[in-house]
Symmetry: C2
Subunit: 331 residues, 2 copies
């Protein structure tokens, strides 16, 4: 197999592009896809202060690596989830990456700062482990970005993640969640802009990039993620992709081109400030503070008025979509 | 396992309804689902003359059986596709069913009437075998219904068929095809109304109904259908359904409730009469006449003006959706 660009021996095949690449050309093409995503979706400005959500996994470290290489001012943020040895190894690998590039890594420990870790949250709260993990990440990343004065949060969501999320939302015709799925979530008061520069690249490609660039990353999956719905959507997409290469990207890009305009109906829930932490919320207290109070057995000031699941869902959906809640990557 | 309705020993489990039924109750529930589909979607009037497209498979014979049982005036139409022993057995079984119920079965032989059979069409034309088969069925059923003065054509599309079609169209965001997917396609000039009374029932349920009612049907699959895209969409849906029972019906019904209104954008292609056969078409000659001319090596009057694939696709989509083109069942 020869490289499509330079005719040297290829090391990776990209079936949906009917192409194969040598190591150097693959890295070049990978960066080109990231540039294209950034330019087309106006993700990052050259003067932006960027906070990359890093978990120690292939996607987030590949993202940080490529952004640094492209000359962006990108700090990292690692969130300690307290998932035993898995979190220990993730933290070490992330710190080693930051040291090797001589870049700033911020760290927040969920248990230290908020009084609970993810295994406890999964046992004690009413949400699934993956749900509370996703909620916590989005909350902490946004808060850290606000506090640190960052312009934008970059996450490592890849094509497989985005296609699986879209499939899940479409299988349920969650029209409001579908409407909000985008490679860019614009900033608003109290909510930092979020971008997904890897959304054009498959999971296999981010893994190959990390490998070819000599990035050491956590290969093991989060031990709490087994049986996760999102993984089953990925399996279903992979089964179709295997015989029809390009299905995933057609699905996601076709949605962005032709489907999304149809779903952009009014779904602007009124946003106010959480009565406990001041972060944006559509209710009296934000979803994170309510989860935290439930897990810790504390009360949020006066008794909360009756709430329905809908508000939870809306707040979860407000930044990233709800079926993205699973937790192997600190997004 | 006990019957959910009468507590007798159950013979079938319907996981997405979290229910199980004995033979008599299952038949009752099955009919209830057909009635619900007919009522909710205004499919059939008591005085309508109905033409059921029958292939000899479980779906179409179950449909004919249930409609007769409900007292509808339903004749059958069998289309001889010329697919060797498979078509021979299908024809015999269909005739035997009609005789046993003492009802009218009309028959059209594709080769006799139109000069080609499906295996030849697959080899000679530019369309895939399944595509030309689907096209031929829709054309012949419509023409036979018009000629015979029928009010409505009923086809045996089940929940699995419809969910797989929707998945295929959604994966490609074929917004115009998505917009037209419906359990009822209203009649218009030259086009007989089409209904799918089994769309609320799964493939497993139509098979169980046929079995429990003692209906002899062709179990073998069309020998030409292997590798068909629609089958892979069914596999993907089945994989998700296995761990999340109800996904298929949520997907289809959720689309009909919440998705479809968003897609009902203007896609009313101008319909005229085919210059060769007079049937409705969006171009100069209809897709069937063009396929036929290509297969037989004849010319359609004066040379055709340049056409693009889009017109083909639109005409195929006009009655039934394009990924429904596969051919095991004479729909």
């Amino acid at each position: 197999m020869r490289c499509t660009r330079c005719r040297e021996t290829a090391v990776i095949e990209v079936r949906r592009h009917n192409a194969a690449y040598c190591s150097a050309c693959f890295v070049h093409v990978f960066r080109g896809q990231v540039e294209r995503a950034i330019d087309r979706w106006d993700m990052l400005g050259t003067d932006d202060r960027i906070l990359v959500a890093v978990s120690g996994g292939k996607d987030s470290l590949a993202l940080w690596d490529v952004l640094l290489d492209m000359g962006y001012a990108a700090d990292g943020l690692y969130l300690g989830l307290g998932i035993g040895g898995y979190s220990d190894r993730s933290g070490e690998i992330t710190r080693a990456f930051a040291e090797s590039r001589d870049v700033t890594l911020r760290t927040v420990d969920l248990a230290e700062t908020y009084g609970f870790d993810i295994p406890t949250a999964g046992r004690k709260g009413s949400r699934s482990t993956c749900a509370v993990c996703g909620l916590s990440k989005r909350y902490v990343f946004n808060k850290a970005a606000l506090d640190g004065g960052y312009d934008v949060i970059a996450t490592g969501h890849n094509l497989d993640d985005e296609a699986a999320t879209l499939l899940g939302n479409t299988l349920r015709w969650q029209t409001d969640y579908i409407a909000r799925q985008s490679p860019v979530l614009p900033g608003k008061v109290g909510m930092v802009k979020k971008v997904k520069p890897l959304f054009r690249l498959s999971e296999l490609e981010t893994a190959a990039y990390a490998f070819l660039r000599g990035i050491d990353y956590v290969v093991e999956e989060c031990p709490l993620v087994r049986g996760n719905t999102q993984l089953r959507y990925k399996d279903a997409m992979n089964a179709i992709e295997a015989t029809s290469p390009g299905t995933k990207s057609q699905f996601l890009f076709g949605y962005l081109d032709r489907g999304r305009p149809l779903f952009r109906a009014a779904d602007d829930a009124e946003v106010t400030s959480c009565g406990s932490c001041g972060q944006p919320t559509t209710g009296r207290f934000c979803a994170f503070c309510r989860a935290q109070a439930q897990i810790l057995g504390t009360r949020l000031g006066v008794p909360e008025p009756q709430r329905d699941d809908r508000q939870d869902a809306e707040e979860l959906a407000d930044e990233v979509l709800p079926v993205e809640l699973y937790g192997a990557e600190a997004r």
